[in-house]
Structures are given as C-alpha cells and as structure tokens.
C-alpha cells in the first residue's frame, strides 16, 4: 500500500498537547481521534503538521464494528471525510463493539471469538470498507474479561478477519500485554498467528498496576514490559510505523520525548 511503508515513529495528536507534538523532535507521523475533528474546522495545529508533510492518520473509536447492529454509515462517512481532509493513507478502528441494544458501553468491549460473531464483524467491516475512500486497519483491544465459548484464539480470529476482508492490522502491544496480564493470553502466540505482512502500524501505551490487574490507562508511563512486547514484534517484522498513545495526565515534553526515543531505540535495534 502506497504511503504506509515507512511511517516511522509517531504520537497521538491531542488538543492539550498540540504545541508539544509540534515541537517534539522525531515525530514522523501523528494519529487523530476522528470523532474529535470536524470537517471544515481542522485544528490549526493539525493543519500546520500537514503543511510540514507529517502524515495524519484518523483513528476512530465509535464504529462498533463488532456490534450486532449494522455499522452506522454516517460515522463511516465522517471517518472517510476526515481521511480525505487530512489526506490520510489509511484509517483505523477497533475489533470491538461500543453499542448494543441502543446503549453506549463507553468502553471498547471485546467481541466474542465465535464463528458467528466473526461473520457479523466481517459483514460490518466490508460495509465500512465499501464506504471508505482509503484502506481500513483494525486494532486489537484490551479486555478485562473473555466471553465464554470462544472458538478461536485472538490471533486466529484476527487472521481470519484479514483473510475474509483484506483489512490491515493495527497491533497495540500494550493491549497484548494487558491481556497477557489480565486474562492470561500469550502475546507470542498472538504474533505467531496473525498475518504480519498485513501489519499497518503499532500502538504503544502506558498503564498502571492495580493489585493483580493491569490498567491500560494511556495516562501513565510505558512499562518496560510493553516495550518488551514491541521488541518481540520487531524481531519478527519491521513495523511500518509505531505510535505512542497518551490520552491523559500528560507528562513534560522531555518525558514524552524520552518515551518516543525509547520506542525508536527498540525499532532501530532490529533495523541495524
């Protein structure tokens, strides 16, 4: 796919840290939350980054592709229009549902890993793809629970999703770590099972331990263990891009810069 082969190291653009993102050294690309942007009113900072030639990738959180209801095409259309407005090479959302029976969960809920649920997901992904101007990448989520009667592992589930829809994968290594900690899944097995040649880019995020549970907060520092999962991924494939997600409790510019540098060090260790 043109333009996605080498994104480099990036960070999630958030309005609170817009100036920080602009002045940080070594930001090769950014991601924006599509639902936070409005057509015709792009934030000045995003426009400035685009003028500098920094790729801006819209990331959606509300398509609810894993939901039983057909995907809301107005949301897909908005995502597509944002992609066009920023000239994005691709867009993304999650393998999850956020609405059911008219209610909003407020969380990215994991999809039951059954053949039936996969059929529903595939149908929604295909419908979204038909209505998007650019390719769609889908991200693995962090789950605090596993639905009973799962027929496939998470890796197998995503592999089949890619097989049937030709979508791209956005692998969040912090979510892999969270699932390993909280529900005992194996990140190595996940990486063995997914089609790495369809990897669009990678998310890295911070979190915090709360007793036996790891919370994927995006508001704390990135744990070395999460960088360990990134390291494992990079030992298997050269990721087209790796992006740091920070959504709250923003640290100093220097601290964010050092997190980006740590990510870059892992990526470049394998390129050498």
């Amino acid at each position: 796919m043109a333009g996605i082969t080498d994104l480099g190291v990036g960070i999630g653009w958030r309005s609170e840290i817009d100036l920080t993102v602009e002045r940080l050294p070594g930001v090769d690309f950014v991601e924006v939350v599509a639902e936070n942007l409005h057509i015709g009113h792009l934030p000045e900072s995003v426009t400035l980054l685009l003028e500098r030639g920094i790729p801006v990738l819209p990331h959606a959180v509300s398509l609810s592709l894993g939901g039983a209801d057909p995907v809301d095409l107005s949301r897909v259309e908005h995502l597509g229009r944002i992609a066009e407005a920023v000239g994005a090479p691709m867009v993304s959302d999650h393998v999850c549902f956020v609405r059911a029976g008219g209610l909003d969960s407020g969380h990215l809920m994991p999809v039951p890993r059954t053949k039936d649920a996969l059929d529903v997901l595939v149908a929604n992904v295909k419908l979204a793809q038909e209505n998007l101007p650019v390719p769609l990448a889908l991200e693995n989520v962090a789950a605090l629970l596993e639905w009973p009667d799962g027929e496939l592992s998470e890796g197998q589930f995503l592999a089949e999703l890619v097989e049937r829809t030709d979508c791209w994968l956005l692998v969040d290594v912090a979510n892999l770590y969270a699932n390993a900690r909280n529900i005992g899944t194996d990140p190595h097995r996940f990486l063995d099972e997914i089609p790495l040649e369809r990897l669009a880019y990678v998310h890295v995020a911070g979190g915090v331990d709360h007793g036996d549970v790891y919370h994927d907060t995006h508001a704390h520092a990135v744990l070395p263990e999460v960088l360990g999962v990134l390291d494992e991924l990079c030992s298997r494939v050269k990721p087209p891009g790796v992006l740091l997600e920070r959504d709250d409790n923003y640290p100093s510019d220097a601290e964010i810069a050092s997190e980006l540098a740590a990510i870059r060090a892992v990526v470049e260790k394998h390129r050498a």
């Binding site: 309005s15 609170e16 840290i17 817009d18 100036l19 920080t20 934030p43 000045e44 900072s45 508001a219 409790n249 923003y250 640290p251 100093s252 510019d253």
Partner: protein, 262 residues
C-alpha cells in the same frame, strides 16, 4: 527568579507584585505565568491549560497549587485565571497584604469631597475676622480627609512597588499582565502565547499607569483593581467598599470587568 527587595526591605513575591499592581486577576495571571515558566502547566494553541503530570509537587505557593488544581483536567486559559482570582487562596493573599500594611480597605471619594476643603479655607479667612471660626477648621479638614477617600494600596505598598522591574517574564506578567507590553514587546510573546489566547482575559488596566513604553495591563481578570478582594458575588455586595470605585482606585481606573473587588 529574583524576588525584588525594595529600599524598605519589603520582599515582594511576584504574586504580591501582581496583586498590588492590578488586583487579584493579575496575581492569578502571575501564578499561572510562574507555572508555565517552570513547565508545570502547558497551554495549547486553543488556550487549554493543563497541568504537567508530576504528582503534586512543583507548586511553590498556595495560589499556584490552586491554579494547578484547576488545570488538572484541562481548562480554558481565562477560566483558570478567573477561578484562581476568586479563590480562597487569593483572599488569603489579600489578607496578607492587608496585614503587611501594603494594602488597606479603600474608601470611595465622596462626590462633594472638595466642598469641605472649600469650607476649611473659608473658615480660615473668616478666622482672621473672628478667631472662633478657626475652631471649625480641623473639623472641616477631617471631613475633607474622610471624603477624599483612599486608595487600596498604601503608601508603603506603592513604595514597595516603585523599584520593582520586569527582571524576568514572570515579573513582566505581574507588572503588565499577559496582555501588556514590556520594552515594546508583547508579554504574551515571552510565553509563546498567541494574542488570541491572552485576549480571552477581560479588559483590565493597572491601578496606575506605569511610565515608559510599557503597557500597563490591557486585560486581566474581571476582578477590578479597587476594593478588597475578589470574593463575593458582586463588587457592590462586598464589604470592602469597592462598590464605590471612583478615584480611590488610582489612575488606571477601577475598570475591567467590574466583578468583585480587589
């Protein structure tokens, strides 16, 4: 950052300088300026102020702690300044300035303040014809002094301020406000803040215009520079006497948003 020491030996903190110069709004601006200066908060292009995540340390004064608490979840630039200006911590800063005799409860100038002076002069003239008239002179003068009103900043306060200079960008905010100018340059530029952000603050003047090319204020909190503290729901309801406004507030005028007192 240097804390200026005046000839009287009064050490004024930047927040105190801000308060004495233009009231609680300016002191709130000064607290925010120090936090930006120390990288304890960041301001976005849209004027969103958010605390840099460091745990609870970093703030040097209770006013800064209050400002940080408002910025913890991200808040508009003007909201942070206004909220700090109306905080209990600001009232305590004002009380401290009262205790130090750098400020006092202001009194409005009575509309007919000149009349008692005229009466005193007439009594003096008449005293040369009938000395009994001299007895009325002190009474008339007392009336004059009372009716003339008095400023919120005392002589000592004004003196303490006299030698304070904008030695750094935090002091520049204390003396001229984010909307002001120092040596012909916009103070906002020192913080890389756009005019769009600092102009969120309501129009506000210094108590007394400073000399030179420096622009005294321009905007600030709606808490006006007169009166005694930015508490209460409105200026007129405060017990400070701020309701009077008038000349006791100094040359810069008691203007601004006309909110609470000083």
């Amino acid at each position: 950052m240097v804390t200026p020491v005046t000839s009287l030996g009064t050490r004024l903190s930047p927040e105190e300088i801000g308060y004495l110069t233009a009231g609680p709004g300016r002191a709130a601006e000064t607290a925010l300026a120090r936090l930006i200066d120390a990288d304890l908060v960041r301001v976005s292009r849209q004027g969103l102020v958010s605390a840099v995540h460091l745990g609870d340390h970093g703030a040097l004064t209770e006013l800064e702690r209050r400002t940080l608490s408002y910025a913890r979840t991200g808040a508009r630039f003007d909201t942070v300044v206004q909220s700090t200006a109306y905080s209990t911590e600001m009232k305590r800063l004002h009380q401290h300035l009262l205790d130090q005799k750098l400020m006092q409860q202001p009194r409005r100038r009575h509309e007919g303040w000149w009349f008692s002076l005229a009466v005193a002069i007439v009594l003096v003239v008449l005293g040369f014809t009938a000395p009994a008239f001299f007895l009325g002179v002190p009474i008339a003068l007392l009336f004059f002094v009372w009716q003339r009103g008095r400023k919120a900043v005392t002589e000592a306060g004004a003196k303490a301020l006299r030698h304070v200079a904008a030695t750094d960008r935090v002091h520049a905010v204390a003396l001229y406000g984010f909307c002001g100018k120092v040596n012909g340059h916009a103070v906002a530029d020192l913080f890389e803040l756009s005019q769009g952000i600092v102009k969120m603050l309501p129009l506000k003047q210094n108590r007394k215009r400073r000399s030179s090319s420096d622009g005294g204020g321009g905007c600030g909190s709606s808490c006006s520079s007169c009166g005694s503290g930015c508490g209460g729901s409105s200026c007129s309801s405060s017990s400070s006497g701020c309701s009077s406004g008038g000349s006791s507030c100094g040359g810069g005028g008691c203007g601004g948003g006309g909110g609470g007192g000083d």
